[in-house]
Each structure stands twice: as C-alpha cells, then as structure tokens.
C-alpha cells in the first residue's frame, strides 16, 4: 500500500512565541528570537545569547502536579502536540487511537532535570535522589506523555540523531502512514538544552556565535542554540480531503544518508546523497523544487558545504532556488530543528511566503545562492526540501509538495 500523506496539523512553541501563529508572523516579518540568555547565570559562558522560549511559565499549560512530572523538553513536546492535534481537528476514538503513531526526535532529552539532580548529588552531597529523575530524563518522555494524553496505543517511539532527530522522526512517521502501518501520526521534535553543563560543552566545541546567527553571511561566527518544539499531524491525503480539513501541504518524500567521513565536520557528498534520496522517494524532479529550508547553522564549515551539496544536486537549477535558514530566527533547536523547519517550509508552500535568512549582513562568495536575505518574499514554490545534517554525519531530508 502506498498512500499520499497530508500534513493537517501544525503546533510550534519556540523563541518566536508560544504557538504557531506567532511563529509564522515572526518568520514573515524576519524577526529574530535571539536574545540575551536568562536560563543560566550571566557571565558563566563566552556566548551571551540564545533563542529561549520567551516568558515561559508551565503553569499556563499544566496543573502543578503534572508539570512536576515533566522536564521542560517534554512539556514543550506536549504543548506543540496539543496545538497540532487541535489544528488538525482530530479526536482519537479507540479504533483510531490504536492506529495512530507518535514519533518524536530529541537530541539530549531531559538535560535540565539531569543537571539539577547531579548538582544536588555532587555539590550539595545529597545522597537521596528525586525519584522522578529517570522518567523525566528519558528521551521518549515527550512521546510517551503525548500517548497518555490522547490514549494513543499504536507505534510510539523516539529517535535521537543529534541535529537530524526531528527529520528522522518525521520521515519515519511519514513512511508509517504512507505504507498503511498507521492511519494517523503525530511527529516532530522537542528540545530544552539550556543546562549550564551542556552549554559549557557547546562552548568547548567553539561553534557558538558570540553575537547572533548569520547563516550564509561572510561574517558568520557560528550557531545560536535554541529551545522549543514543533509537532505535525500526518494522515492520508484521501482521509484529509474526505473530512474537508485544511491541508498545509503534502509530505512527499524522505531521504537519509550517513557521511562516514568525520564525527563533526560536514560532508557535501553525504548531504547531497540525502537530498537526492528525498527527491527520489518523492518522485520529484529537482527542477520542481523552488525553496529549500537549509540546515544553515551559520557555522563557518556548514554553510559553504551545504551550498556545494545543493549545487551538486540541482546543477544550473540551483540559481533559481530560494534557500533560507530560519535558524537565524528560532535558533538551532538541535533535536527539534527539523520539526520547526518543517513548519516553516509548510508556511512557505501554503501561504506563499518564503521565510528569510535573518541577520544577513554580507554576501559570501562561498555561499552564492539566493538566500532570501532579511526580508520574506511572496513567491509560490511547487515543491520544497527541508535539510537536517547532524553531528556524527547523519543526514535527513524531507520533501514537501504544495497542495492548494
């Protein structure tokens, strides 16, 4: 069985706001959510800025007891899933619940809970440990909590492939729906990486920008970490059409590859193979693609390598592509990145508004594509790709088709 797959629900919580409309508005306005960090003590890091969810208060979303059971990353997952399910207008009766899948991505799981627990052990020498540590820290906590919320009893799991986690998760969920293994899927990613221990580890890797994230700009100085979650609701196109719901776009293809090249350095070859695989899986000709939501981290190494990969896949058509990195606005949310960027890509296809690469200041001859600098563009794309390339050389690319 092969079915076309529609995206009928989107939920997003990010530095650009607590719900999808705010996310889309910020992307359209080219407003960046990168601001001075508040979640760790000032001056404890060489980089002062991050893309935190602004004024986040769990009490707005959860009963106090419930919130205590959930790490911040799992809270974000559930908040985004609630919005996506509400947007899709689906209710899960027992039969549908059994045929619904949930696949989420997370790079680091409940890191802030873990950090606080370890500090209490190592610093305060507390020998008794909070008993909720294990269920709060596990990377599947978000997926499991979504499953509990809706009584979903089909295939539910979490994948962790660093910065590609969400794309791998969405791709897997897409295949489950396409081949009939699931009738509906909730898929995406969530991340809350702002623990001091983890941030110090990023500092040591020397890839974080001391100011902001300027993808493809000659003066780019690195990535900016972000937090948040995005979830999509996927269902067969026929089912979506039959119930007359809004279709954000078709998820048409998924491609993966491994570089087998280096644990942190990117490879144009591996990235290109994943893009080709996604196009082939979708049955989409390169010339049909009008927009690429780039991995675009803003590091010196990623951006020219990604441009080289795009050129090798698209040849002369690369000149006609619009390629933007929305990480310039919502930051690099690691295991949630692909999910936020899928939402941005669907906005581009459905609304005809191509989100820009914000904070762009100076063209780089090594990144000489149309990177939609600073200002969103009204344009229609027939198809679009969303790229994720992870540390460890693991690449995952989603291909979307416009449905209007």
């Amino acid at each position: 069985m092969t079915r076309r797959v529609a995206v009928t629900g989107i939920g997003v919580i990010s530095a650009l706001g607590s719900a999808r409309p705010a996310f889309f508005e910020a992307l359209e306005s080219g407003i960046s959510g990168i601001r001075p960090m508040t979640l760790v003590p000032e001056g404890s890091l060489r980089f002062p800025n991050a893309a935190e969810v602004p004024a986040y208060d769990p009490a707005n979303y959860f009963e106090e007891r419930d919130a205590g059971f959930l790490d911040r990353f799992a809270q974000f997952a559930l908040i985004a899933a609630r919005e996506a399910v509400g947007d899709a207008g689906i209710s899960f009766d027992p039969s549908l619940a059994e045929n619904t899948a949930i696949v989420t991505g997370s790079c680091v799981g409940g890191k802030t809970t873990e950090d606080a627990g370890f500090r209490s052990l190592y610093e305060q020498k507390n020998s008794r440990f909070p008993p909720l540590m294990i269920p709060k820290v596990m990377a599947n906590a978000g997926a499991s909590r979504i499953s509990l919320e809706y009584g979903i009893t089909g295939p539910v799991y979490t994948v962790s492939t660093a910065c590609s986690s969400a794309n791998h998760a969405i791709g897997q969920a897409f295949w489950l729906v396409r081949n009939g293994s699931a009738e509906v899927a909730i898929a995406g990613g969530s991340e809350a990486p702002f623990s001091l221990g983890l941030l110090k580890s990023w500092e040591a890797l020397r890839v974080i920008s001391p100011n902001t994230c300027r993808p493809f700009s000659r003066d780019r100085q690195g990535l900016i970490l972000g937090e948040g979650a995005a979830m999509l609701v996927l269902e067969p196109m026929d089912r979506a059409r039959a119930r007359g719901t809004r279709i954000w776009g078709e998820l048409a293809g998924f491609g993966m590859s491994s570089d087998a090249h280096h644990i942190t350095q990117p490879s144009a070859n591996g990235a290109a193979r994943a893009m080709r695989a996604a196009l082939a899986d979708a049955g989409v000709a390169p010339e049909a693609v009008g927009y690429i939501n780039a991995h675009g981290t803003g590091t010196p190494a990623n951006d020219p390598t990604e441009v080289e990969a795009i050129r090798s896949v698209f040849g002369p058509h690369a000149e006609k592509l619009m390629v933007s990195s929305t990480k310039s606005m919502h930051g690099h949310t690691l295991g949630a990145a692909g999910a936020l960027e899928a939402a941005a890509t669907l906005m581009a296809l459905h609304e005809g508004i191509i989100p820009p690469t914000a904070n762009f200041s100076e063209p780089d001859p090594a990144c000489d594509l149309d990177v939609v600098p600073n200002t969103a563009r009204r344009a229609r794309a027939e198809c679009a790709l969303s790229n994720s390339f992870a540390f460890g050389g693991l690449n995952a690319v989603l291909a979307f088709r416009s449905v209007i």
């Binding site: 890797l205 020397r206 280096h262």
Partner: protein
C-alpha cells in the same frame, strides 16, 4: 621565543595527538601533523589547562601551525602576568 614554552606546547600537542614528541617541531603545520578541526579544539583545551589561560575563539580560529600556537600562548601568558602585576596587593 623561549625554549621552555616551545617545549611545553609541543609536548602538549604530542600527548593530545598520541604522536611521538620528536615529530612535533616549532615549524610543523597542523596539516603536516594531521590535526583536523576537532583535534585542534582538543589541543586548545589541553593548552588552556596546561597554562591556565583562556584562549578566545577568534584567536583560535586563525591558528594553523605550532609556531602560531606558541606565539598565541606567549601573548596570553604575557597578558596574564601584566594583569597580575596590576592587581593591588593590599586588596
């Protein structure tokens, strides 16, 4: 360029890279020593611990050879010494 500083820097590089100390000279480039970007930041970390200095990202990005590394560490040590002398003793 003080010999002791060169000796300490080359020895940290050799130890971090697990290569014989005699293979690292003041004239070696990182390319010759097969030091890639990740090895490079590992060496910076080891040097920061060895000399108790903080190597800024900007400066680190420019370094491509042992000589540049020794120069950079020398400057950081000089700055550290100057800062210590400026600190009033009665504080």
């Amino acid at each position: 360029m003080p010999g002791e500083l060169v000796e300490r820097v080359t020895s940290v590089i050799a130890k971090t890279q697990h290569i014989p100390p005699e293979s690292v000279t003041i004239d070696s480039t990182f390319q010759e020593l097969n030091i890639d970007s990740l090895d490079g930041i590992n060496i910076l970390f080891a040097l920061e611990s060895e000399f108790d200095v903080d190597i800024p990202d900007d400066a680190a990005k420019q370094i491509r050879s042992v000589r540049e590394m020794v120069d950079g560490i020398g400057k950081l040590l000089a700055a550290k010494e100057a800062a210590q002398q400026e600190t009033p003793q009665d504080k």
